[in-house]
Symmetry: C2
Subunit: 239 residues, 2 copies
């Protein structure tokens, strides 16, 4: 596969999983065309159905004639398919550091994100409070991971000087964390409890690869409220 | 990290996720010590709690002073940390082929495995039949994936001449599929419907990297029946 083949992203403006792909392409300085699926419509594009017949979900990365699905798989593909000398790497070069980044990415997707959804959606008070605790626990863990990754060297990102895989995976959910804070009138990202993550989050949002593709807070806030009111929160697909 | 550092696997005989790690190490010809957690005991070893504080689950791979958790993360680590010229690769060299292997591995773990558990555990008849349909659909899909991977070249494995990542991820669940067939008196792997997978499965089980670490069918069958009878099926942890 030539790196010069056309790159397209099938996505929606509101999907945080699509956001990951766009940030990754920006970090790697890969030009792409963004093809927006219209969220809320009941029909999906022919191209989406053809490119992701198993899940029929965005994001899909199309590179030449190849389609890649699932955001974590796409991120690694982007890192491995575009490897000229002058491109940044999303993953560390050491296999163990790479394994750690992947472990925490899985933790964020499989465990922490579910708790965050629970904070927003859970009607039962006890269950909601349990979700809140788990979100806090996760943030404490990730504060420690950040300390280990940067080893007190003052670098701004989990990946060092530049945004990497774990920054993208975790950073993509920060907008939803902020929305959860507003809806539930709590503060998760707290300078006393997780000072390093607070600074990391600021650096992340101000980064050129991020700031132009991150959905606007107010628009996203209204979108989440509407989804919760509509009886379900799904941030992962066009459904 | 030196390749010569000691390698240990924390596991149980019955965990199919542990099985993956052992097969991968065998394929890569990495010597390791198997430290067995005693399944069914309520206490877990100090080493397990220290090595996997987040999930407290097997498998854990210990390489020198580094601990790696989560079977899919471990498989990639093994592939990337042991890369001498004469070692086989678990993942294809082409980034797109690698992405496809990872996509299908996620599909197997996130979707197909849940359906397989549903076949065994589900009490409600309709839900169980739905699970059975999904297991069948998954097998049809993977039959097609096998055809694409091997491109009609007659090679025995998804990965070509030797067992690779996708072979290990899928192959590790075949024992449970066979147990489900016996418990429910159905035939999933069928020469008429999925002839290529039938042959692949035979090759997989006879392979030197697999045959000495695959649990015995009768022992595993009794174990699954006992777990189902005990009110829950958990194949992923020491709990």
């Amino acid at each position: 596969m030539e790196n010069r083949e056309e790159v397209k992203v099938l996505g929606t403006w509101s999907s945080l999983f699509v956001l990951r792909v766009r940030i990754a392409l920006n970090v790697k300085q890969v030009k792409y065309e963004f093809l927006e699926e219209v969220a809320g419509l009941h029909s999906k594009s022919e191209l989406l159905l053809k490119s992701n017949p198993v899940y029929k979900k965005v994001p899909v990365l199309i590179h030449g004639s190849n389609a890649v699905c699932e955001s974590l798989v796409i991120l690694r593909y982007i890192d491995e398919a575009f490897v000229d000398d002058d491109r940044l790497s999303l993953l560390p070069s050491d296999p163990y550091d790479r394994a750690l980044a992947c472990f925490w990415a899985c933790y964020i997707d499989d465990k922490w994100f579910s708790s965050l959804i629970g904070v927003i959606r859970e009607q039962n008070k006890e269950a909601r409070e349990e979700s809140m605790k788990q979100v806090q626990t996760g943030l404490q863990l990730l504060e420690e991971v950040f300390s280990k990754c940067t080893n007190g060297n003052g670098k701004p990102f989990f990946n060092g000087e530049s945004i990497g895989y774990l920054d993208i995976v975790f950073g993509s959910f920060m907008l939803l964390l902020k929305v959860a804070e507003k809806i539930k009138n709590v503060k998760f990202l707290d300078e006393n409890k997780t000072p390093k993550l607070v600074t990391w989050h600021q650096c992340f949002c101000l980064n050129d690869a991020v700031k132009n593709v991150m959905p606007q807070f107010d628009k996203f806030f209204e979108y989440v409220k509407m989804r919760v009111g509509g009886g379900g929160v799904s941030f992962s697909s066009t459904n």
